[in-house]
């Protein structure tokens, strides 16, 4: 079941329901579906947690996921995972689930629309100064923009903007290109090769989710570590 034809580039163009100026397109419906799955799934699993080794297999699964995300964040942020785990972990889980569900027929990943990825990248864009200011204070954070001299201020600002654009287009381009490749393959070699590409798509989706959250964490870490601290670490 394909709800998008080959000339539609984004799921925004698939409209399920419309009333005056309110439109429900495929992007928003499937975003809600992913949110619903995440919320209900984690509510069901965490309803009865057991601290002993006799736990349900779903609890075991979630423990593995959360602890591996935490150890990744720990390595980048030098042991302050608890502070950043809610934000970065949510980004990873949302993108990973949104991409992995692409094997379900009739589902279009909301991340293959530019609007979803732009929203996620803007979340990172806003979160970086918030984390930086809470860690260092306004004065130290703003000072970072004027290093090494004040001439570099426009370059720092441009860097912030262009990396947000890069985050947006990277996730969108990867997922959308994969959707298009499968659609084209379906019309050329209908049976076998689309299945192989779907299996490859699972890998691509997970890697993109990993890269998005790791990059968000790297940006946050670079905003929260002061300049002097970085020098000391480099010398060690």
């Amino acid at each position: 079941m394909e709800i998008m034809n080959i000339s539609q580039i984004s799921p925004d163009q698939v409209i399920f329901w419309q009333w005056k100026f309110i439109t429900l397109n495929a992007t928003i419906v499937y975003t809600w579906l992913v949110m619903l799955l995440l919320v209900i799934g984690s509510w069901l699993v965490t309803r009865k947690l057991s601290p002993t080794i006799h736990c349900t297999r779903w609890q075991n699964f979630l423990e593995v996921v959360v602890s591996s995300i935490r150890s990744e964040i720990n390595e980048i942020s030098k042991g302050e995972a608890e502070h950043y785990l809610p934000f970065v972990g949510t980004l990873f889980l949302f993108i990973a689930l949104a991409n992995l569900l692409a094997v379900v027929p009739g589902y279009v990943p909301p991340t293959s629309s530019l609007t979803t990825t732009a929203a996620l990248a803007i979340c990172v864009f806003i979160a970086v100064p918030i984390f930086g200011i809470t860690k260092q204070g306004v004065k130290e954070y703003v000072k970072e923009y004027f290093r090494p001299t004040f001439i570099f201020f426009p370059f720092h600002v441009m860097g912030e903007l262009s990396r947000t654009l890069a985050l947006t287009v990277r996730l969108f381009g990867n997922i959308m290109s994969h959707e298009k490749v499968i659609a084209i393959l379906l019309s050329v070699t209908p049976f076998f090769f689309p299945i192989v590409m779907q299996a490859l798509g699972l890998l691509i989706g997970l890697i993109q989710a990993y890269i998005f959250s790791i990059l968000a964490m790297v940006y946050i870490a670079s905003a929260t570590q002061t300049h002097e601290e970085g020098h000391e670490k480099a010398e060690k």
Binding site: E75, F172, I211, I214
Partner: protein
Amino acid sequence: MENINVAIASIIAAALCMAVGSIGPALGQGRSVHSALSSIAQQPDERNSITRTLFVGLAMIESIAIYCFVISMILVFANPFWNFVVKKMGG
């Protein structure tokens, strides 16, 4: 017939964009994977941090190729000049 010319031009431009634009990222990715593999072979203990940095770097390099891809996708599927030409022709 102007209509056809726009279609031909945008398809050729899309193909050129993809072909030329993926040479640089391919060379860059090859170099970075090469040096990451040789440093993993020299220092297997640092494997985790090398792999993570490699992935981040690969994502950065890859985004250049992705830009080219998005541009060529726009040229093929959502060409902004297409509507302009159709309107001008009075279609």
